[in-house]
Amino acid sequence: MDAVTTTNVLAAAAAAVERKTLVQDYIRHHVLYHVADGNPSVWNLPFIRVPALDVFRHDEVMLVVALVLLVGIFALLYRRDREVPHGWSNLLELFVLFVRDQIVRPYFHEEDARRIAPVFCSFFFLILTLNLLGLCPLFSAATSNLSVTGALALVTGAFMVGGAIWKKGPLGFLKCFVPPGAPLPLMAILVPVEIISFFSRVFALAIRLFANVLAGHILIFALLSMVVLFGWAAFPVVFMVVGIYFFEIFMAMLQAYIFTLLSAIFISQMAYEGH
């Protein structure tokens, strides 16, 4: 090869590398933009921007949509006039009884279980609806925002503190952090560890739900960006993305169940036996 051809080949290769680098940066910005917290465009319509709607963040709109959906389904579709539930009533009772019998009843005594079951039903249905709405085409997941999951975990934390104070009094709540039957030098280490573990349990609830949902969405976006990078050669990626989509649906239900179950365990631990 002579010098001109070599120079042309090298220039073409450098341009191709540069083009791929620019495309990678472009995709990275767009992947993060779509799953970012303060993403201003609420409806991810392909070519349409409605600037008037940018006042609302995507998670606020999704919370309102989930609220309207849940209240509408439970108020309008649940019929109490039959003895044996039928249709929508049957389906809703299936989930509510699942939460009450498998999550609340094993950890709380009878009177307390009857009083606190609506809290866990609310947790379960809200998180399930928010996660599943995040998988629908024009919507985004409100639980992929740390503020939303942090608020839910703070509600659990408030119930942990409030439940302990209600059941044992303020002094009993402080005694929760002092495990019995330990010598005094060990207490100086154990009590800060107990306090830290209280906060880390609440924090872990928030982070677990947030990171699971966020990681799923980022994975789907990142795999689909391979189609932008490689064109038609990346067509089999679409099948893999469909598989991951099914896994995301399973993850949505599992994370709702895990959040509710761990909330029940933590609240009953603080209120009853004092950890």
């Binding site: 677990r208 990171a211 169940y257 895990i258």
Partner: protein
């Protein structure tokens, strides 16, 4: 650019930790389910809970890797 590279390596190490942890949970669960098939549903429930807890810890580290991407 190099912080993104190191964060990617970190994300791979997180995957190793999560894989080992969840693999041990399910391995012991499968062994106990084969010893006592009548306890299968309880053991399966506990397996899912254990896997979610291990995955929660792995996702702490993954969030830190995400923070390096921005």
């Amino acid at each position: 650019m190099t912080s993104l590279a190191i964060a990617s390596v970190g994300a791979g190490l997180v995957a190793i930790g999560a894989g080992i942890g969840i693999g041990q949970v399910w391995a012991s669960g499968l062994q106990s389910m084969s010893r006592q098939p009548e306890m299968s549903s309880k053991i399966q429930t506990s397996m899912f809970i254990g896997a979610a807890l291990v995955e929660g810890i792995a996702l702490f580290a993954l969030v830190i890797c995400f923070l390096q991407m921005s």
